[in-house]
Symmetry: C2
């Protein structure tokens, strides 16, 4: 694969760091790729916007920060306001309809998706919002297979919680497929 | 504070990434510092050695990778064999007596501590091994207050589990204080 640079952004508690780590681990452990995952904390974190970067590649990765992501996810208005402008021209910008009002055009494909609402309605557990988002991302950006994400989840999530993660991931994959067409 | 560079290493499942994230968040959210936290996955991760890097500083941090850590923690023999040589001369190398047999001298203070055994004996839950380790690290390296770690934990850990985390952290602090003298 080509190198892919991603930025997940939102607020603390939405699970964007966990989603980034799951993606990086799935890429490496299940698909034989290399990955770097990082977060910077500072004024941004204190202000409430969490950002987590992932780079996936089949070769070595030297510099772990992402300057212009191919894929940018914004799960809060604050994260959107702060980061929307960094998306790579021609890239992909994914926002959640419940949390973000898209206010400007960027030179990227924009996908406004009801991820939060769908998870609450179909699974009933907002805690797997981030897993649904990950399903959307891997599908729209064609990154790793859902099975690889599930395999990593199996090693981290108590058995009783696997099914709701699986459902959230599947909802994300379906939403991603629908948004592709 | 001066800038501090740390590397936590071990195997997947020991919680070294979580420990690194907790430390970075505590430094930023509770103590007004800046922090960067990252992990590289690749041949190392596939081989079973997980490594997570943290940099804490009161100024800006530009390059997020740690080349020579002031503080290196190794929780498995494989991690020790691979990383012991990168500790900064005059730095601090912390290993767990259950998992690591120290086989060579490095130009650093070496502390071999029974963290795993103590957690199992006193708390009965190996899952908080990483929190005990974090207590040792913040005490020996004088990084952040235990209260700051607890504050971050309160936002992440279900209420029923807070007490065992608190005990593990406290055990680590005591072990760190004893190892200082």
């Amino acid at each position: 694969m080509e190198r892919c640079r991603l930025v997940f952004s939102g607020s603390g508690g939405q699970g964007v760091i966990t989603a980034a780590i799951l993606l990086a681990e799935a890429a490496v452990l299940c698909e034989g790729l290399n990955a770097v995952q990082s977060q910077s904390y500072g004024a941004e974190a204190r202000g409430g916007a969490t950002r987590s970067d992932v780079i996936i590649a089949d070769g070595r990765i030297h510099y772990p920060k992402v300057l212009q992501p191919n894929v940018l996810v914004c799960l809060t208005q604050e994260a959107y306001n702060r980061f929307a402008s960094i998306v790579r021209p021609g890239g992909l910008l994914i926002t959640d309809t419940r949390y973000v009002k898209v206010q400007r055009k960027v030179d990227a494909q924009q996908r406004e998706l009801p991820m939060y609402r769908t998870v609450v309605e179909q699974v009933g557990k907002p805690i797997v919002f981030n897993i649904c988002m990950l399903g959307v991302v891997i599908t729209l950006a064609d990154l790793v297979r859902p099975e690889s994400i599930m395999k990593v989840l199996e090693g981290r999530v108590p058995k009783d919680f696997l099914e709701m993660n699986q459902r959230a991931l599947q909802l994300g994959v379906e939403m991603g497929n629908a948004a592709k067409a």
